[in-house]
């Protein structure tokens, strides 16, 4: 009985998800498409929670729907107000549709086959057996920051590269006139709450859902909220400091890895006794980096004086 109920709930979630995805992709209006996309992100967060991935649910809500949403929404204002249409010929349409349909069938068949043939042995047993020496008890944190820490380091490199590109390309985001007393009032108590929650997420990530990425993104969300409520605040932000923090976090990560290499003859191989502390250090560093990165990605801007090494932060304002 309960299985049927679960099945009904799952089917509903799946159908809603597919519907949101379809309407996002085929919407003619940019604003509508982005709004539907954010909604889809939130639904995805619920689905992650349903599939017993609470870390992901947090991350998707904050990063996937939150920060992505903020970036996309602010991009709309730069976007020409034309409706979205596809300029492909009907023949091309037909070819693409047939091709995608065929691919869907092939992949579905492969997935079905794959789920049948695998004996269900995943890596969860290996992970569980090694958790006691990993220094944390949250398995996802253990994988992310211990077993596969090298991937996480490279991922931070990806973030850094993207932020560098954003900083190079554009002047700072223009002061928007959209703020209101309501927003300011709400921000006044929301931002401290976000900051405290972010610290909590960082701390609790060792033994419960949470961790560096969620915490860092939440801090960035707080900064973005400040920027929206008090548009001229970026003149007070020390952008040079943000860049230093961004680099410093990743730098710490690499240094810990190299230190372990000299101590234990292997990169990022933590001595089991110190593993917990080391992970906390790296997580704090990563949180700071992620927060700085996502904030800079949103605010953008080419701070003057970067190239010559001066610390003068005036930032250029957009002409429009």
């Amino acid at each position: 009985m309960i299985e049927i109920l679960w099945f009904l709930v799952d089917s509903m979630l799946v159908l809603l998800l597919l519907a949101l995805a379809w309407t996002t992709c085929s919407s003619r209006d940019v604003m509508r498409a982005v709004t539907l996309f954010i909604a889809m992100g939130l639904l995805l967060a619920i689905i992650w929670a349903r599939l017993k991935a609470p870390d992901l649910a947090l991350a998707e809500a904050i990063i996937g729907a939150g920060v992505s949403g903020a970036l996309l929404l602010s991009a709309i204002s730069d976007y020409p107000s034309t409706a979205i249409t596809s300029h492909r010929s009907p023949l091309m349409h037909g070819i693409i549709n047939t091709f995608t349909l065929a691919l869907t069938i092939l992949m579905s068949w492969a997935v079905w086959h794959g789920l049948n043939m695998s004996d269900g042995v995943r890596l969860s047993e290996q992970v569980s057996s090694q958790i006691p020496v990993s220094g944390v008890s949250n398995p996802v944190t253990a994988v992310l920051l211990n077993f596969r820490a090298y991937d996480t380091l490279l991922e931070l490199a990806v973030v850094l590269t993207a932020v560098l590109a954003v900083l190079i390309l554009n002047d700072k985001r223009a002061d928007s006139a959209a703020s209101s007393p309501l927003l300011r009032g709400m921000t006044r108590w929301l931002v401290p709450l976000l900051v405290v929650t972010s610290g909590y997420l960082l701390w609790v990530g060792a033994h419960a859902p949470g961790g560096a990425f969620q915490a860092g993104a939440m801090l960035a969300a707080a900064m973005i909220l400040l920027q929206l409520a008090y548009p001229s605040i970026h003149r007070g932000f020390n952008l040079y400091l943000l860049r230093v923090l961004l680099v410093a976090g990743i730098f710490t990560f690499v240094l810990v890895g190299l230190w372990m290499m000299s101590a234990n003859d292997d990169f990022l191989a933590y001595t089991p006794a110190w593993a917990g502390t080391l992970i906390l250090i790296i997580e704090t560093a990563a949180t700071i980096s992620i927060a700085a990165a996502l904030t800079l990605a949103y605010i953008g801007g080419r701070p003057t004086g970067w190239e010559t090494g001066d610390h003068v932060i005036t930032g250029k304002e957009d002409a429009g």
């Binding site: 299985e3 049927i4 099945f7 799952d10 089917s11 799946v14 998800l17 995805a21 379809w22 992709c25 085929s26 940019v30 498409a33 982005v34 889809m40 995805l44 689905i47 599939l51 017993k52 870390d55 992901l56 991350a59 998707e60 990063i63 996937g64 920060v67 992505s68 970036l71 996309l72 991009a75 730069d78 976007y79 020409p80 979205i84 596809s86 300029h87 693409i96 995608t100 349909l101 869907t104 997935v111 789920l115 995943r122 992970v127 569980s128 398995p139 253990a142 994988v143 992310l144 596969r148 991922e155 990806v158 973030v159 932020v163 590109a165 990425f213 992620i290 990165a293 996502l294 990605a297």
Partner: protein, 104 residues
């Protein structure tokens, strides 16, 4: 009745296909970016569906970590793509303005 794993994996395949189709059909930056993100969400869903081990069991944490990485990579790429689009936009309006001034 199909298993939860299969249901969500197929949903992932569906998302992937929807996003892929839209990526191929659109050529404006923003719709394409949205489509690519939908495509990515599909792949992530396949990973997590495969990792699911029932309400009682422990889900496989490795795909969770992978998808977390994937989400961060996706948002970075999106930010960069939007910055590129904005820069091109400002270049093109610059050329239009200078051409308009030349005409005057």
């Amino acid at each position: 009745m199909i298993s939860t794993q299969l249901l969500y994996s197929l949903a992932g395949v569906g998302l992937f296909a929807i996003g892929l189709r839209a990526t191929l059909l659109h050529h404006l930056l923003l719709p394409r970016l949205l489509a690519l993100n939908v495509c990515g969400a599909g792949v992530f869903l396949i990973f997590i569906a495969v990792a699911y081990a029932g309400i009682e069991g422990m889900a496989d944490p490795v795909p969770h970590a992978l998808v977390l990485t994937g989400i961060v990579v996706a948002v970075s790429a999106t930010a960069m793509a939007l910055a590129l689009g904005r820069r091109l936009e400002s270049k093109e309006s610059e050329t239009m303005k200078s051409e308009a001034m030349k005409d005057e």
